[in-house]
Symmetry: C2
Subunit: 248 residues, 2 copies
């Protein structure tokens, strides 16, 4: 560890822990909520509660960005909100392309939360000619072969894959070929990408299966070790002993 004054600035430049990065958007949203309530100042305790995390974690997370609070007082909501937005990089909008305008892609294209959260849908593409030409909002669905043009024209840096699984890798390769280095993948498929490209996946059935595991666990544990005072209850509803709650 290259010792050196770990000033706030150098900290931020050195990179923020991944777990913290994943929470910053949550804090940002919570702060936006406070702004809308005309709340000018908040403590770490209050913000942590709004974000669903513990206050020590919140303070440590924020400390990676710098010292933006005032001891004995708390945080200036508007100021902190701007700092987090700047750190994430959503003070201006990022142009996004969505590939695959099926049910899911359609829903994403209609999603109103994009513009308010730092993104702008720049293009909607689909390989199926039957889907091309449709207008969603003020955009028209274009052919996938327009990809390279549009990425260049709009300086698109983020691609969203909402195609069926069998097409996902090919689409991904094309996206990477255009120079896109950030991909959000909704297709249930493991994507292979070169170093330097970030892929995040959102997978409905994985999430459900994780829930199913815990649900099954609650049921069998409840059956094996009947918890105290749980009034009868139908067979399938698992008596809840101290399961882990995600939010607190």
């Amino acid at each position: 560890m290259p010792g050196r004054e770990p000033t706030a600035a150098s900290r931020a430049e050195r990179g923020i822990p991944e777990a913290t990065v994943a929470r910053l958007p949550v804090y940002l949203r919570a702060l936006t909520g406070l702004v809308e309530l005309d709340i000018a100042t908040c403590s770490s305790e209050e913000l942590a509660h709004a974000a669903g995390v513990n206050s020590a974690k919140l303070r440590k997370d924020l400390s990676y960005l710098g010292s933006y609070g005032t001891r004995g007082v708390g945080y200036d909501v508007e100021y902190l909100r701007y700092q987090i937005a700047r750190e994430i990089g959503v003070t201006q909008d990022w142009p996004v392309v969505i590939v695959g305008i099926g049910n899911l892609g359609h829903a994403l294209a209609d999603y109103s939360g994009f513009s308010s959260r730092g993104f702008r849908i720049a293009a909607l593409l689909d390989a199926d000619p039957a889907r091309q030409g449709e207008r969603i909002g003020d955009l028209e669905v274009l052919g996938f072969d327009r990809l390279e043009d549009l990425v260049t024209e709009f300086a698109i840096a983020i691609g969203v894959i909402a195609t069926p699984a069998p097409s996902a890798q090919a689409v991904c390769d094309r996206l990477v070929g255009t120079g896109i280095t950030s991909i959000l993948n909704f297709a249930p498929e493991v994507l292979n990408v070169p170093d330097g490209v970030d892929v995040r996946k959102v997978d409905l059935s994985i999430e459900l299966q994780i829930l199913a595991y815990h649900e099954q666990r609650k049921a069998t544990l409840g059956a094996a070790a009947p918890a105290a005072l749980d009034g009868a209850g139908p067979e399938l509803s698992g008596p809840q002993l101290s399961g882990r709650a995600v939010n607190r």
Copy 2:
């Protein structure tokens, strides 16, 4: 040759690490892919590659379930697939209710991957009378007030929230009230639930913002420290700073 070890069973009862649970569905899907290719046996190396993880991690994950492989040979694909499915709890289908049939809820209702992956949509609910009565697949969208009936009738154990953010907490409370203890939340809202209830959230803008952070980071680092397209571990990030005001 099946390993019917009581030790394996006791292991499983003791609980599987959360990180492993999150990967089991990925292994399950990879194995299903191998089954479709008529591959009867595979090594940890092959399966790990198909799942996009490292083989040591895969073996360790599987070891939490029991000893289902054969040294010097590998894993029986079909057998291992069944064991993982059983461990997750998706050997039978879980009935699921989807609340909020907007664009997203509609897309989810249409999603074909449910039945093949251990779930069955048992009910579609929406509070808006304008949306009620529509048929999606072979289900009709019903009023939210039917919730309690349907949960009881179909023994629903998992709820999916696809409503706008302002309604999410209220819907969540109603779901919890019926005894549902597993919730998948698509609304951009932090949900408050009692202990024993599991909530998982899927949030498009959070995922995009995480990508945006890294994208911004690549851009500023690239500008400050050109070349080195290759490697350069995350730890060795360059010490360049870009002038940052810390004080207000």
